[in-house]
Amino acid sequence: MKSYDLFDLASRNLRNSKLRNSLTTVGIAVGVASLVAMLSLGIGLQSMATSRIRKSGVFDIVFVTSKQDVRGMRARMQDTDEANARVLDDAARKELEQLPNVAEVTPDIHVVAEVGYGDKSRMTVVAGLPMSEGTTDAFDKLQGKFFSNNDADEAVLEEDFAKRLDPNPANLLGKEIVLRYAERQQGDAGASDSQGTGGGFSVTRKEQTLTVVGINSEEPFTGGGPGAHGQVYIPIGTAERLNMMQPFDARAMVRGDVTGKTYNMLRVRVRDSGQVEQVQNAIKKMGFAAFSVIDALNGLRRFFAIFDAFLGIFGSLALAVASLAIINTLVMAVLERRREIGIMKALGASDIDVKKLFFAEAAVMGIVGGAAGVLFGWLMGRIINFGTGLYMTRMKMAHVDVWYVPWWLIVGAIGFSVLVSLIAGLYPAARAAKLDPIQALRYE
């Protein structure tokens, strides 16, 4: 039998028992809606979580530190021979710059400083940013502009900090602020005595006038540890030029690493985020510790894969119940249409034709129920997003979609619904096909 005849007959048969078949189809729709609802919630939450990381613009960055560890954690974990760990100095920085697929290597600079504006003085954390940071999503909502060059005496202020200087942050654009900081001045390295004392560096209070060029509401991920939340950003070239003393310098001095410049952490920007893992492995082979957000994201993906699987299983329960309804409906149809099946066989229908007809009826219920279920699930998602949006607005928080239905979920849910319906149709279809036409024709 041709497909159009098959589906025409199947639709006709389903229309003949409108109420029963409609109820079964509604059952499938509820099952699919439940599945879509559960999975789209999981996908929405995953999308929300990963987009926060993506927005930070650190997907193509590898953070490099020395394996020297003041707290001895690595040594306790027997991860490294601390005494022989490589120092992250200028030579290492140059070596990192030579690695394939590396776009730039910049130091991580976070310092505690004071910012003066008019008669106000505020303590804060100043962070240096490379020019490449200006193209990331973190600066999408920047008021004003990013730095004009890598050595400009310019600053971008974080909005909350800017409010501490002026209730209307926009007033600060183009104005000058004074940065007061501790400058590290190199001492005489060869001055240490026979007891190993002496040498090191001196610290001097300095001031630098900066022009405020931008106010930013989002926080770029600058890679620092606890307390590294910057509120004033300056170009990384300027930060290096000012030679601001960092907490790490005390450790370097004690270790005697004061002959040249050493770094607490270097940010290695990779040309393509797809090569992050390869660059990260190369850095580890050089003897340094390397970390990228890909590591954290992979963990997050694993978590959501398990989370989605659980949601999918719970969502599928309703569809499993609906599949029992399909079996019941079609078995009833086989019993009611025994004589009709006998007539069809007498007129030349093969066992396969009869089987296909019942499969087609199951498939039609699956397609209609699946489509209705997806629509129902999507509407539920819209309502929940709307409700969440209202709540977030009331709480003065940015609107986020916690519910997300991707196109593949729509196609997949309808496909799954048809598959479940076909599996449910297996037994009734086989039963119909096996009917003895002579017995069926005698049936009243």
């Binding site: 005849d5 007539i343 007498a346 007129l347 036409p437």
Partner: protein, 236 residues
């Protein structure tokens, strides 16, 4: 009496038996029947209830398989056919009509007549014309969209004949076609079957009315207890 086994033979039965197991006992519904039916012949199968005539008709129709023996129709042995081949045989070679008409109640007359064409995968384009012709042949040209419940018994049986003939079968099998009809309507149906036979279709009809056999069939075959007991030419 057997027809000669040549190209003129439409149906050839050789030592056909059909036994049913009912608990410990065996029911011999058809018991060692050999028979030949010529092309264009109109044969009546007569006998009391339970004589095996309907079972024999179902065997010839390919709805049932013999316990032993061979049934050859148009040179092809039905007992050697797979289920799919038998289905094709039923839709291409055989037309069937029943005592209780067996039209599908939820379908219109036209849709009932279209049903065998769906199974035969007849292209959709020419179907409407063939349905119209088939129904006009049985004088139901004006009742295409009527449901079986809106038709009289005679009209339903004429509709069933149109359905049986729409795929142009060479063999028409009728199981008590007038059993549910009054004598006048029954005669109308029999006249129709005679016209069908005259157009070159072999007709095998099960009936228990000797008068109908005498009037319309060329040969009457009497059965009793599953056996063929008598054959006689009844019409020239």
């Amino acid at each position: 009496m057997e027809a000669a086994n040549d190209g003129r033979v439409a149906v050839q039965l050789s030592s056909v038996t059909r036994h049913y197991q009912m608990g410990a006992s065996v029911i011999r519904a058809v018991d060692d029947i050999s028979l030949a039916i010529s092309r264009d012949e109109f044969v009546a199968l007569l006998g009391a209830s339970g004589s095996g005539k309907s079972t024999l008709l179902n065997l010839i129709a390919g709805l049932d398989r013999p316990t032993s023996g061979a049934i050859v129709v148009n040179g092809r042995d039905l007992s050697a056919m797979a289920s799919e081949e038998l289905a094709r045989y039923r839709r291409e070679t055989v037309g069937m009509i029943f005592q209780s008409f067996n039209l599908v109640a939820s379908m219109s007359l036209a849709e009932n007549v279209e049903l065998p064409m769906r199974f035969a995968e007849t292209p959709k384009d020419g179907r409407a014309e063939r349905i119209r012709q088939a129904l006009e042949r049985v004088h139901l040209g004006g009742r295409l969209h009527h449901r079986p419940s809106e038709l009289s018994g005679g009209e339903q049986q004429r509709g069933a004949i149109a359905r049986a003939l729409v795929n142009n079968p060479t063999l028409l099998l009728a199981d008590e076609p007038t059993g549910n009809l009054d004598s006048r309507t029954g005669n109308e149906i029999m006249e129709l079957l005679r016209e069908v036979n005259a157009s070159g279709v072999t007709v095998v009809m099960v009936t228990h009315e000797q008068a109908l056999a005498d009037k319309y069939a060329q040969r009457a075959i009497h059965m009793a207890d599953g056996k063929l007991v008598e054959q006689a030419e009844v019409r020239q």
